[in-house]
Symmetry: C2
């Protein structure tokens, strides 16, 4: 264990680094991210730092000067932006800044009449040294001219000094700094994934519900199919969603099948939960016969693609007792002392429709089977997987699987559905999941949301890309049960603007908010029955329109498509949350600064008024000047100053989503 | 940059780790320190963790079970204790705990009548597996007996279960846990130094002042010598100090010598600052002729040793213009454009009595010269160096020097005198300084001290061993200038009990608190003149006695000799600070728990009363029971409960230093 030599200019506490740099931090194509480090030096001479982005081929891709972000604490930051997927890296270089040292000393000493000729001579030598590098001619010219004036003893000392401090000299030395004692940190890894890994609007549906109908003749339900579900694709695409996520599409077991509302015994005709996977018709690599064939599935995927959407498939790595693996590979499950296969259980409760896989019994066999199964779906056009309960499987499995898929199929995105403790959620992201469900559904108050938005944007963003879902087929929080249409509206605004990836479970349009008594999920849960909806009434509550508008706003505003640049703004009313997101011109695909200010009334029942105390610097604005806002939701324009006053009536408009422009 | 494979049972966020484990954390012989890690697993089975201490020879030295210290956050902690100097290491092992899993499931299921026979059978198998290991016979017997009862179908199920849950089984499986899927972290380094690196009472003196006198005949001062200064050793040792620290003892330059009170020009007879090192009589490897010879120095060191004290030498790596290095090695300094050697300066101010070394000009030559100079003093019995302004020299230099000295002279301790920004101070410790001066002198209020005591004990303790000095020859804060004797008394109590290393500058006994106008240091600073003191009056203010008592208390209480176990206790009065330190019996040299509760009136002027809200768990006490305290300062006994009330009159007693004992 030999100690690493410290640099001549020390660079310590580099961020973003996961587990000593042994696992890569997360980056996204086109997404600027912050690099921070503690950089300092001995004595009084000037120190500076550069952040360098390293391309997958090992060459330096780009660099940025770091600025001091915590006076007295020697903490520096710069933003870098990768432009392609792959295993990138970055490092921080500390260096001695002889020009800044000279500027500091010469300004004071010439002013005080101390060592005047000496300081001017040393300035001339310094700029000559700066010019003696391999630089563009115009840069060299600027430096040589200044050096000549500094050395010209016929001139006034103040004029000579001014030549060394000129804007031109500062500019060319900013672009081409004279760096002494350059001391690089080690290179830290950065796994860069494509944009959809970070940014996308997801729409969840049970394909069997679309086109399902109750046949009065037979007295039984007839399942929807991929062909009937295809009918919905145009409308979902028209709302502006990017990802169409299907709950599991595999054959469903019959042994101990659950009935409606999670009852222990299914009645005849009950379709069963699509999470009870596997029957004589096949397992995870098969399609439920009632949904159609692989040709139908391919047609569904193709239609979604034509409409600009990719298809995500739900992967639940568990088996019904009827799954082919139970017959062919009983060793993949846990056998009890009495010779039976262990059901899933949470003692003393048992889930007799599910056998969990035991990954420790035959890790290699199970790995290959699951990998090959996923490969099959990839070969049928699936580019995203929503993984059910990844936290009940060993992380060694995920790390291996996700490493292999990143290599072979870098376009494929895995979303972790782990609603569990923070360490597991962070680490699932750190070992390779592209994005993660979050605690967003349970963060409702201004304090909770302020903390949580800040956490996901700044504290865990290098490990975990957050997905915000106001509801899922399994989650209907008390807030959503009780808050009516306004709750659905305001939570949609928060989800769509608070994180670059958000998701909506179909039926959201209808404010489906009645819970099964005693649990935080919908009554008549779609998991256990067919649930066709009358889409002609989808905008009765205004929510289909709102979702479409939100997705349109997200596409207009690169600021909302990025994760890291988020600022909470204080308000005078605890029911009013204000936050902004911003991307600077140099990183924006539009080439212009983009700033969005979101102000939400968190109370679905009452009108609230508030003063907002804007952090003008975070908005890229001059604190003393008025500025323009355009409300993208309300379609109105206003001129504001640093402490605007707002009034939001939840029956009329739950939020402002303001495009901010300086005058 | 290949990713490190995650363990089967993940172990992440290990502490104490510095810079990805590339630099060792600090440990001290006989000092327990906390190891923490985030440990978790998939699913619902039980997880556990072990912290393992690795000896310098690479073998496992000892281990401790880790306990959950933050419910829901999967954060575990254990305390380990190295017992010899050297480069140790530690690791954390996560593991699956099949016994805990069985206890949880079996207790619930047998109680609920579910799978009763199955659970008892599985319990019998588990304990049989535990017994089938290489274990002491009595342990095996306990496990086999329990397994037999669990398997005995003639018995009542409740009795069979009870056998598997018995205290005996829990105890032997606690000592010999059945660990599945053991997943070790990497080994992280731990540099263990001897106790005096962490724990000691220092006394600073200017040897030339002891025995100096003004000769009326010549009208000039006569310097004290090592021989006259030796006269003070008995008294300092009698006060219980461990280290006698001498300001620099080398020849002092005459060119641009500073006069009394830092005046620019010395008057005839002014002795000059011992920090203006070097004259024709020699440099850092010489002794000022007025102090005596190497023989005299050796005699001084020997006397101190006889009295139980080691000698620390002040090392100031800078030169007067008269230093031999200026003549022999002008290349070790900075030459300006005009050919002159650069003075130390803080533009536009110049320090014309000092040339700083330029370590970049000839790093190897300077390194060897300084190393050899330090070796010389080590060969004359110096075992500690107080390094003046280490933050004005490059850290690469210190890292190399301290690494070499740790190898060749592991007993030698270096104290960093860096009063600068946090990053530099932490990093000087991290690259090898054994201990560091701190911000203690500037932390006066209850809030400041609560934060700072916690910071040095828990947040930076793996990087920096703190030394608390209420004053130095350069530091006399406004609080000390204004607070009279009580300020000197209460700051001595805080220093001596708040950190295992503290220091006193001679003259503290006399409440020398008059500042030179405009600066926070003493008027008639001993740096620039002789300052003999009338030690017959040393206890007039009671401070010599107090220092002796504090050192006696420190020796009685191992709790005060350790750094990490410190707890702040809330009080009802903002002028009353309460904190405790504690060492558990298993780590205590006395073999018994030792707990000390310190309660200080921070106001040197007024009597204050306060309720103290004791954290009884941190004191090792039952919250519901009364307990005994013995005031080691006031020599009184009391029976207290969890919320004692105190009254402290600064004219009588500034603090309680309570030995705590349960009844």
């Amino acid at each position: 264990m030999p100690a690493r030599a410290i640099g001549r200019i020390p660079v310590t506490e580099v961020f973003p680094v996961i587990e000593d740099g042994q696992w890569p931090a997360k980056g996204t194509v086109g997404e600027p991210f912050p690099v921070r480090a503690t950089v300092f030096r001995e004595g009084h001479d000037a120190v500076a730092a550069t952040a360098v982005l390293i391309a997958p081929d090992g060459t330096d891709h780009s660099w940025a000067p770091m600025r001091d972000i915590a006076k007295g604490l020697d903490r520096y930051e710069a933003w870098l932006c990768p432009d392609a997927p792959g295993l990138w890296g970055f490092r921080v270089e500390g260096w001695s800044d002889p020009y800044a040292t000279w500027v500091h000393d010469a300004t004071i000493k010439v002013d005080a009449g101390v060592d005047v000729e000496l300081m001017l001579t040393e300035g001339a030598r310094l700029l000559t040294r700066a010019a003696d590098r391999d630089l563009p001619d115009d840069v060299v010219a600027v430096l040589r001219t200044a050096a000549a004036i500094l050395a010209d003893t016929t001139r006034d000392p103040a004029d000579r000094l001014a030549a060394g401090l000129s804007e031109d000299v500062v500019r060319v030395l900013g672009d081409h700094p004279l760096r002494d004692m350059v001391s690089p940190s080690v290179a830290y890894p950065l796994q860069v994934d494509r944009r959809l890994a970070q940014t996308g609007a997801w729409y969840e549906m049970f394909p069997r519900s679309e086109g399902a109908y109750f046949d009065q003749m037979t007295g039984r339900w007839v399942s929807g199919t991929f062909r009937t579900a295809m009918e919905r694709i145009d409308a979902i695409a028209a709302m502006g969603f990017d990802v169409l996520y299907l709950t599991p599409i595999h054959p469903i077991g019959t042994t101990n099948r659950k009935g409606r509302n999670n009852t222990l015994h299914a009645k005849p005709g009950d379709p069963g939960s699509p999470y009870g996977i596997g029957s004589e018709a096949g397992g995870h690599d098969a399609i439920h016969p009632e949904l159609g064939t692989f040709e139908d599935f391919d047609a569904f995927v193709a239609r979604a693609r034509e409409r600009g959407m990719e298809v995500a498939l739900d992967i639940a790595l568990q088996c019904s007792p009827d799954h082919p693996w139970v017959r062919d590979h009983p060793e993949w499950f846990t056998t009890r002392a009495d010779g039976t296969i262990a059901f899933a259980e949470n003692p003393p409760k048992k889930y007799q429709d599910i056998y969990p896989l035991n990954f420790d019994n035959d890790p290699e066999g199970i790995y290959v089977a699951i990998r090959d199964m996923l490969e099959l779906w990839v070969s049928h056009g699936v580019t995203l997987f929503r993984v059910d309960n990844p936290h009940t499987k060993a992380l060694v499995f995920w790390q291996r699987l996700l490493t292999e898929f990143r290599e072979k199929h870098p376009e494929v995105v895995f979303l972790a559905e782990a609603f569990t403790r923070p360490a597991m959620m962070r680490t699932l992201g750190a070992v390779g999941f592209h994005q993660s469900y979050t605690y967003f559904a349970w963060r409702n108050t201004k304090w909770e949301l302020s903390e949580y938005l800040t956490e996901v944007a700044t504290q865990t963003s290098h490990m975990l890309r957050p997905a915000f879902w106001p509801t899922t087929h399994d989650i209907l929080t008390p807030f959503m049960q009780q808050g009516g249409t306004a709750a659905f509206a305001l939570r949609a605004v928060l989800a769509a603007t608070g994180a670059p990836t958000y998701g909506i479970y179909s039926g959201y349009e209808f404010v489906e908010n009645v819970a099964r008594p005693g649990v935080e999920e919908q009554i008549d849960n779609e998991k256990y029955e067919f649930k066709p909806r009358d889409w002609s009434r989808a905008n009765d509550a205004g929510l289909a329109m709102l979702l479409g508008t939100l997705n349109w706003i997200r596409r207009q505003h690169p600021a909302l498509q990025q994760l890291h640049q988020l600022t909470i703004h204080p308000t005078s009313n605890d029911f009013v949350l204000a936050f902004s997101k911003r991307i600077e011109a140099r990183f924006s695909p539009t080439g212009a600064d983009d700033t969005v200010l979101v102000i939400v009334n968190l109370d679905p029942f009452l009108t609230h008024e508030s003063t907002v105390y804007l952090d003008m610097e975070a908005l890229g604005l001059d604190p003393a000047q008025p500025f323009r806002v355009h409300d993208e939701l309300g379609n109105s324009d206003h001129q504001w100053s640093a402490t605007p006053w707002v009034r939001l009536d939840p029956r009329v408009q739950v939020a402002h989503v303001m495009a901010v422009r300086s005058l």
